[in-house]
């Protein structure tokens, strides 16, 4: 036995690896394996925070870096110690501990962590070849079709949540659900009128028979998950905003009335933090890597409700802030979602008209301006002196605006970005809505930082997620005061991390248990009860 190497058994028919005794300097088993070209799923950067590199100690012994010697059989984190050579040590690496997916940029989101290719259902070529990662938003629903053999996203379909026709925001829908028969109608709207057509389309467009779907993971805000499962959300409608359920739920398609797919197909609802900080944010916390780093880090997810999560050391703080639909184009003169044909970027070079605009590429589906264009406009117009700190068109600048760029309806004035084009108008009333939306988010960030006794400058990373997608101009977001006190190098634009987290939970079976653990850890802050929130909100109503 003396000097015998450590034998490491590998999944998927890869040959066994033999590791000689480790050098005198301490090097973890995970580091040794990585050096041998067999990296483990160390998404937390080998800090022992996640369970991604857990391996089975089948025989022999493992010495933890704290000096403890662990005898077989045991599960050990490979980043936390060395397998002892010379003791007949055998280590078995399960599929879930092998890194296959590197951090990547997908269609509408970024995944900042590595992951294993070990889906939560067993792959089978005929009956269980694909899965679905689903994000149920208040406004938009996205279904991603995932090849379970490779983990690749082979296609995506998205559309409006058809519940919109019954109520624009979550509160309206919660109230409606309390009326006789309406919970059923809301449930039908999301399942039959929204999800089933999207699942049907994404399967058809990618040549996958729906009978081959093996599993689905679903992220979304807490209200949406309640309506999806026909659970009465009434207690979430008033203080103390209790959610009937928050934990991970494993259901079958038939339980949801979800047709098109096999009735017995497992559907996993991701866990949420609270009634207003939902599974969408838990998903984002894993997808961005926030849960696997000491921070301080922030995740700011901008939707109709802005959701904010702050990590500082072992502490997590979460809050929701009523931003309203302005950054998704809602209630604005020419606002629209970020669909093909919509203006997504605006520059006013030196304040000279016409403005330079970029539209979302593709076959035009809509005319108008999407959230990122409004962010650009606020920043650019303020920079060149077209608008003042309160968002008003400055009299001298207005006098110089060419007639074809002026928009005047009664007392409501605005700017036509393209000469004579009524679909590219930004009015003073629009700006007032945007200022309230950005102030709600900015003040929410400030309150969480204050709670954690943390300064913006000390934040290592701010992950900016949401419907803006991946194309938001960070400098402009900062210039318009959305992220007070931050600098562009701190900000990582990550897109729809709710969908990203759903994908991660689908392809890597270690992720969902970690989400469950994370979801119980956050201290939820109710902004309306925070002293100083109103003060901060009013401060943030001005443009920097």
């Amino acid at each position: 036995m003396k000097g015998s190497p450590v034998r490491v058994r590998w999944p998927d028919g890869l040959p066994e690896l033999r590791l000689a005794a480790a050098a005198r300097t301490f090097r973890s088993l995970a580091a040794q394996l990585a050096a041998s070209g067999r990296p483990l799923n160390t998404r937390c950067g080998q800090r022992g925070i996640c369970a991604g590199c857990t391996v089975k100690l089948v025989a022999g012994a493992f010495r933890h870096e704290n000096g403890d010697v662990i005898a077989a059989p045991a599960d050990v984190k490979a980043c936390q110690g060395q397998a002892l050579a010379g003791s007949g040590t055998v280590v078995e690496v399960p599929a879930r501990s092998v890194v296959v997916h590197q951090p990547q940029v997908a269609t509408t989101f970024k995944v900042n962590v590595a992951s294993a290719q070990d889906p939560i259902v067993r792959y089978s070529a005929g009956a269980c070849s694909h899965g679905l990662a689903i994000d149920v938003g208040t406004t938009t629903v996205v279904v991603a079709l995932v090849d379970l053999a490779s983990g690749e996203i082979v296609g995506e379909a998205s559309g409006f949540n058809r519940q919109i026709e019954m109520g624009e925001d979550v509160i309206t829908r919660i109230q409606l659900a309390g009326s006789p028969g309406q919970l059923q109608s809301l449930h039908r709207a999301i399942v039959e009128s929204t999800l089933m057509p999207l699942v049907h389309d994404v399967c058809r467009d990618n040549g996958v028979a729906p009978g081959r779907l093996g599993c689905a993971t679903v992220a979304g805000n807490t209200t949406m998950l309640h309506l999806l499962t026909r659970t009465d959300p009434t207690p979430m409608g008033f203080s103390p905003f209790r959610a009937p359920f928050l934990g991970h739920r494993a259901l079958r398609a038939a339980d949801l009335g979800l047709g098109v797919v096999p009735p017995a197909m497992p559907v996993h609802l991701l866990p949420g933090f609270s009634a207003y900080v939902g599974a969408d944010l838990v998903a984002g916390s894993l997808c961005t890597g926030l849960m696997d780093e000491p921070g301080p880090s922030l995740l700011v997810d901008i939707g109709t409700n802005g959701e904010i999560l702050l990590r500082r050391g072992e502490n997590l703080y979460a809050t929701a802030t009523a931003a309203g639909p302005a950054f998704e184009g809602g209630r604005l003169e020419c606002g629209t979602r970020a669909v093909a044909g919509a203006v997504e970027h605006v520059t006013l070079p030196g304040g000279v008209f016409p403005a330079v605009v970029d539209v979302v590429p593709g076959k035009p589906q809509a005319a108008g301006l999407c959230g990122s264009a409004y962010v650009d406009f606020l920043a650019e117009a303020r920079r060149c002196g077209l608008i003042g700190a309160q968002g008003r068109l400055e009299p001298t600048a207005w006098a110089g605006v060419p007639q074809a760029h002026r928009h005047e309806v009664g007392a409501n004035r605005g700017i036509r970005l393209r000469p004579g084009d009524p679909t590219t108008v930004v009015t003073e009333a629009d700006i007032a809505h945007l200022l309230q939306a950005k102030a709600a988010i900015a003040a929410g960030i400030q309150m969480l930082l204050r709670r954690a006794r943390c300064e913006p400058g000390a934040v290592r990373k701010l992950y900016l997620a949401g419907g803006f997608g991946l194309h938001l101009n960070v400098s402009n977001a900062i210039a318009c005061g959305l992220l007070p006190g931050f600098s562009p190098k701190q900000v990582d634009v990550v897109g729809n991390t709710s969908l990203g987290g759903a994908w991660l939970a689908l392809v890597d079976s270690t992720v969902l248990p970690e989400m469950s653990q994370a979801s119980t850890r956050a201290e939820v802050v109710e902004l309306n009860l925070e002293p100083g929130f109103e003060e901060a909100f009013i401060d943030q109503l001005s443009l920097p």
Partner: protein, 211 residues
């Protein structure tokens, strides 16, 4: 411009720091605190309300102006109390049970102060019983009740019912908040409704007979 004119202007455009300094200067100049309220703050807030109703200013500007008004009142209040000056009318205000959103309610409270009401603010998530108790204690002319969430509208109705059934001194009840409508106000037996903080002042004055 006189100090009072400057103060009025600073409040109107929401310069909170200037409003504080100018209020102090007015006191230092020997102007009576009651006159500072009557001749600078009341007209400033009346003008803010008017401009808001005309769509000349929007919610952000109104909130910023209201904060300047609050700063000025913060300096004046001890002087007003010392001088034994109490406004003619008293109002009690709060958000409905279950509702924690108070930025709109706070705005109305400041606008009412600006219209020279004494305002007793009960805060947020106020039970019907707490409203009734406050009415008995303060004997107000007016009660203001708000809800931002559609889901807390039933609590508004419950509160109005509780006030009517309580046998406490007669009082006018006014309701408001984003989901509230005149129709809802009439249905639940409220005396008045205002769609925004600007018109809430006119309505309040009309209800107490001060208009």
């Amino acid at each position: 411009m006189t100090t009072l004119e400057q103060l009025s202007e600073a409040v109107g455009i929401g310069k909170a720091k200037d409003a504080k300094v100018l209020t102090q200067r007015a006191l230092d100049e020997g102007i009576r605190p009651g006159d500072i309220v009557e001749r600078a703050l009341v007209p400033a807030m009346a003008d803010v309300g008017e401009r808001f109703k005309r769509n000349d200013i929007f919610v952000p500007e109104m909130l910023i102006a209201a904060r300047a008004m609050k700063e000025a009142m913060g300096i004046l209040e001890p002087h007003l109390v010392a001088a034994g000056i109490t406004p003619k009318y008293t109002a009690v205000i709060g958000t409905a049970q279950g509702d924690l959103h108070d930025i709109g309610k706070n705005l109305v409270a400041i606008m009412w102060r600006g219209a020279n009401f004494r305002v007793v603010d009960l805060g947020t998530n106020v039970t019907p019983a707490a409203f009734v108790a406050a009415i008995e204690e303060h004997k107000p002319h007016l009660v203001g009740l708000s809800a931002l969430l559609t889901t807390t509208m039933p609590a508004v109705a419950d509160t109005v019912r509780a006030i009517r059934a309580s046998g406490c001194p007669p009082v006018k009840v006014m309701v408001g908040g984003a989901p509230i409508t005149q129709q809802f106000a009439s249905e639940i037996g409220a005396d008045g409704y205002a769609p925004d903080a600007g018109s809430a002042v006119d309505k309040a004055r009309a209800l107490v007979g001060a208009a």
